[in-house]
Amino acid sequence: MMVPLNWYLILSAAVFMIGMFGFLTRKNVIIMFMSVELMLNAVNISLVAFSHYLQDMRGHILVFFIITVTAAEAAIGLAIILALLRKKQTAHVDEMNEMKG
């Protein structure tokens, strides 16, 4: 008895939704960044599930590259947050208004 592919996709969509909710609503920059990681992980789950059910290796390769790029992105993003914390002494997005957005 196999677990149907749809279950994995629904799980992936749910985790993606939670990550998106966190990104849109949290004030703290670091938690927002963690929500982005959460969304990437949701996509990884669906890629590995597709790869398993289609008996193909490409999904795994894509996940490998996604993890590589995520590591690079985390390094750069956290360096930006570090520079921001040093300059503004706060990590809350609602207090950042230099760009007049």
Binding site: M1, M2, K27, A72, L78, A83
Partner: protein
């Protein structure tokens, strides 16, 4: 039946843990819940016969990225963080948008048509191990993207140093 129970446990735990990550007030707690979440996702990858992906999930995500997060979180002013409201004022709008996305994705799932089956069946992968199969493909067919990934990592290293270093008084 056992498989479905296993999947159910993992799915339930992953969703609850990701809710914890997003809603906790203390960022250190968020990072810790995320650590547990990544271990559970690695378990799910093992369940899908992707040993190598599970290993790099634990090594890279749980071992490297979360430690970076923890370093930066420890620079925050935790007292201020705990006393302040954690969500922006218009959080129901964010919940609505995210829920809309979820509903639309789940609605679309019904019309999924499975494509042709590839040649990497479970037995084929098991006979030459997952890591070897992935490595063979990576160093032949996907060699060029692999090189680009190494370049991206180099750019990230240089960029992180340039952004995070203090301005020297000249």
């Amino acid at each position: 039946m056992l498989q479905q129970l296993f999947f159910g446990y993992y799915a339930f735990t992953i969703i609850v843990l990701s809710l914890f990550v997003v809603t906790r007030k203390n960022p250190v707690h968020s990072v810790m819940w995320m650590l547990l979440l990544f271990f559970h996702i690695a378990g799910l990858y093992l369940f899908l016969n992707a040993e190598f992906i599970a290993a790099i999930q634990v090594i890279v995500y749980a071992g490297a990225i979360l430690v970076l997060f923890l370093f930066v979180v420890l620079l925050l002013n935790l007292k201020e963080e705990i006393s302040i409201k954690r969500f922006v004022g218009s959080w129901p709008a964010g919940l609505f948008v995210a829920g809309l996305l979820f509903v639309s994705v789940v609605t679309v799932l019904g019309s999924y048509v499975q494509g042709p089956i590839g040649k990497y069946s479970i037995e084929a992968v098991r006979s030459e191990t997952h890591t070897k199969a992935l490595g063979k493909l990576m160093y032949t067919e996907y060699l060029f993207p692999f090189e680009i990934a190494s370049l991206i990592l180099l750019v990230a290293v240089i960029g992180a140093i340039v952004l995070a270093k203090r301005k020297l008084r000249s």
